[in-house]
């Protein structure tokens, strides 16, 4: 019953920020129901999507994530009544900001997955993983992390090249 594993040259890292009440339980259901989904996803559990600070998404990309998923309860189902409504507004704005500074929004997915939707979890995670896989690694933030101010640089590649040409 296990589909055959295909091997890929690029295995993307996908970080999923999920709320404990709905999506985490939904992912759990997928697991206990023995549904298959890509092991590329690393799940981080939060009390509520309302607790997921946009800076976490930024940090995930900076630390090497190729894709980020934020998922919580459907509107009206929030354990804390309105956390996901607040999150919805915040993320609507934050994704526009990321887009404006040049992040490809195909790497960032938001979803509502309830405790009963194991199947939807599998679908959301698989979709995002395959989409990111097709896009290749997220290099922008990683390259940025390696950059120094010119004055702090020692042995620059340009210098090395210049020396080698002498």
């Amino acid at each position: 019953m296990h589909p055959e594993k295909t091997s890929h040259t690029f295995e993307p890292k996908v970080i999923a920020f999920v709320c404990t009440w709905c999506t985490y339980a939904g992912a759990d259901l997928a697991g206990t129901s023995r549904m298959q989904y890509p092991s590329n996803v690393r799940v981080l559990k939060f009390p509520c999507t309302g607790r997921i600070d946009p800076v976490f998404i930024l940090k995930a990309f900076q630390q090497g994530a190729d894709g980020v998923l934020v998922s919580g309860c459907h509107p009206g189902d929030c354990h804390y009544i309105a956390g996901n409504f607040h999150a919805r507004r915040r993320f609507a704005v934050f994704r526009k900001l990321l887009e404006f500074v040049g992040v490809d929004l195909n790497r960032l997915q938001f979803s509502w997955v309830s405790a009963a939707e194991g199947g939807k979890w599998v679908e959301v995670v698989t979709d995002l993983t395959e989409r990111v896989r097709a896009m290749g690694p997220m290099t922008e933030f990683k390259e940025l992390a390696l950059e120094e101010q010119w004055s702090g640089v020692i042995d620059t590649p340009e210098l090395k090249e210049a020396f080698s040409q002498i």
Partner: protein
């Protein structure tokens, strides 16, 4: 030929501010007035806090009066004495910031005495302070100002502001960037953010950056690298723009003070544009106790959510 901007009313405005400040300090309405005074360099101005009626004659209003003085009323600025009512000289854009601070329960209207300025515009940041105000030397924010005449103040000089129709530079620049590919936009901002030296002038002059401990100054956990390297700079500017989304009043102080000329207000204007489109929100002269990101409706757009 460069279109000049008529600032002939500014000397009458100066006189009116001086007279009003003298009156309210003299009769005890206020304990202090925050305004602008002339400084050493020709034509320059700087913020001043006066508490004696005799000092009212030092107050001025000129095209070099660029600061948003609202920053001195936030809890981050403990140096300004807080007893009784305080008078403050405000342009329309500055008033929007004060209104925002009132909405965030940082200030009470009854503790303020607002001296409004019918403002035709001020100079851009890189211009020598004694330069004549023209369409070229005008601050970019003033080109798209919708608040030349502040309302709801305790006193506004009777002069009327002039507001010629000028090309809106921020709007044009936002459209230009939006039309680029993500990779091109990333390259643009990377170059700009790389210049950042983390002097935090943008944060320190912002009326809305009143947190006693900024997230970006913390190191446990360290959400944003504190060193002025491209990585930490980019994170800082994204966090800053996000924390101001739905709060920024558009005074553009961040961009004016940036010693490295990073177009910071572009990020704020972009956020303002999105908030207008998404939630029909705009910074204005009316106090709202809930900002667009501290409230919600059940019908909010969720087309981006699976």
């Amino acid at each position: 030929m460069t279109q000049s901007i008529d600032t002939s009313s500014y000397s009458a405005i100066t006189e009116a501010i001086q007279a009003e400040a003298q009156r309210v300090l003299g009769d005890g309405t206020v304990t202090a007035v925050i305004g602008y005074a002339a400084a050493r360099r020709k034509g320059s101005a700087q913020p001043i806090v006066i508490s004696q009626a005799d000092d009212a004659a030092r107050l001025i209003f000129t095209p070099a009066c660029v600061n948003n003085l609202a920053v001195y009323l936030t809890k981050a600025k403990k140096e300004i004495p807080r007893n009784g009512r305080i008078g403050i000289v405000v342009k329309g854009c500055d008033l929007k910031a004060l209104v925002g601070l009132m909405g965030e329960s940082q200030l009470k209207r009854e503790n303020l005495y607002l001296i409004g300025i019918p403002c035709s515009g001020v100079l851009a940041s890189t211009i020598q302070p004694d330069t004549e105000l023209t369409a070229d030397t005008l601050a970019s924010k003033c080109r798209e100002c919708d608040a030349h005449q502040p309302t709801g103040c305790d006193f506004v000089p009777p002069q009327l502001p002039v507001a010629p129709e000028l090309e809106k530079k921020y709007q044009a620049e936002i459209s230009r960037l939006e039309a680029l590919t993500p990779a091109e936009r990333w390259a643009y901002w990377k170059e700009q953010f790389a210049k950042c030296i983390k002097c935090y002038a943008c944060r320190q002059v912002c009326p809305f950056c009143f947190c006693e401990q900024c997230l970006c100054d913390r190191n446990k956990p360290q959400m944003v690298e504190t060193t002025p390297r491209p990585a930490g700079n980019t994170a800082w500017h994204i966090v800053r723009a996000m924390h101001l989304a739905g709060r920024c009043a558009g005074c553009a102080e961040c961009e004016r003070v940036c010693p490295m000329d990073i177009p910071l207000n572009l990020l704020n204007r972009k956020m303002a544009k999105e908030l207008k489109e998404l939630f029909d929100y705009e910074a204005g002269f009316e106090v709202n106790d809930k900002g667009p990101l501290t409230m919600f409706t059940e019908k909010d757009d969720q087309s981006f959510i699976k």
